[in-house]
Symmetry: C2
Subunit: 205 residues, 2 copies
Amino acid sequence: MTGTHEPPLVFWFEFASPYSYIAASRIEAAARASRVAHAWRPFLLGPILTHRGFADSPFNLDPRKGQYMWRDVERLCARDGVRWRRPSAFPRSGLLAARVAHAAGDRPWVRAFCLAVFRANFAEDRDIAATETIGAILNELGQEPSPILGRANAPDVKQALRTVTEAAEALGIFGAPTFQVGQELFWGQDRLDDAVAWAGKPAAR
Amino acid sequence: MTGTHEPPLVFWFEFASPYSYIAASRIEAAARASRVAHAWRPFLLGPILTHRGFADSPFNLDPRKGQYMWRDVERLCARDGVRWRRPSAFPRSGLLAARVAHAAGDRPWVRAFCLAVFRANFAEDRDIAATETIGAILNELGQEPSPILGRANAPDVKQALRTVTEAAEALGIFGAPTFQVGQELFWGQDRLDDAVAWAGKPAAR
């Protein structure tokens, strides 16, 4: 999902992240309203959290922060009209979904796939780490699952996801979602509008 | 600074916190525009961070998060027209300033005092932990420092600040600033508008 010509705004996200789900639900409308071209870039937050010293999601390791997050996400989804059901397991690995997204490259259904994975996790309480779930989502999008799932597990796709995750870390990304405009980072779904505004500045393009 | 009749919006803040500074600079205008009454409530984040397992500011313990924060605060201050100079020491203890604010109770100059302390820390690089700095700020506000500083160190004022900090923790507050509307918490300066909107809902009053 990385093009030669980088658009002004890059949306870095992790399929396991509730705030990434909200951002994914909002970014198309926000970017369209400001006519800002953007790329969706799934990466793995897990390795970066490990390097930061976290053995689990910070929301699990810190119960007060976790309790706040679940209420906050519920409230934000209600505000923004985003479907929400608290998942019975958290976090669920976004590895396979991220590999599929990278394997799919620039195919026109990729963003719909990403949104469907987020909804499966955070509105339908489905296990997005399971091949069956990802296959079912591909089916729902009219895509034959087998060849895509095969590609997703090819060594070059696995390596591409590793490379993207390393690039995220090299940029200074430490959480998800993060919006990147050149060297500027905006961390958190609540900074989407700031990032879009920054990307729309003449100097940022 | 706690009244018998709690206003719909309570602004919990820590003098050592850069994002609290931004919130303090913005809240009057935001609340006035929505006609939401609010209280300013300084507390100590340090004891809560200690209970969460942090021996220093998370921004110092986690260099990537710290690096992001300093750039983000600079950018937000530029956006909002808030004076900013990165302090040469971080964090500086807000203990004395918080005690003075509690000692002053409902005196009309308290919010001006709080803003002046924030500016001293984050726009003028002055040591707000020093009695001389706090005394000078009181002087600039036309207040005789000695009696107020004496009150600030009285046992009942020290206990009042402890009690408020325990109340923050009991509410589930884990960071600063936090905006409280009844039982709802909104963490982070970027959620000020959400909190004001929530406080303005008929059901929240």
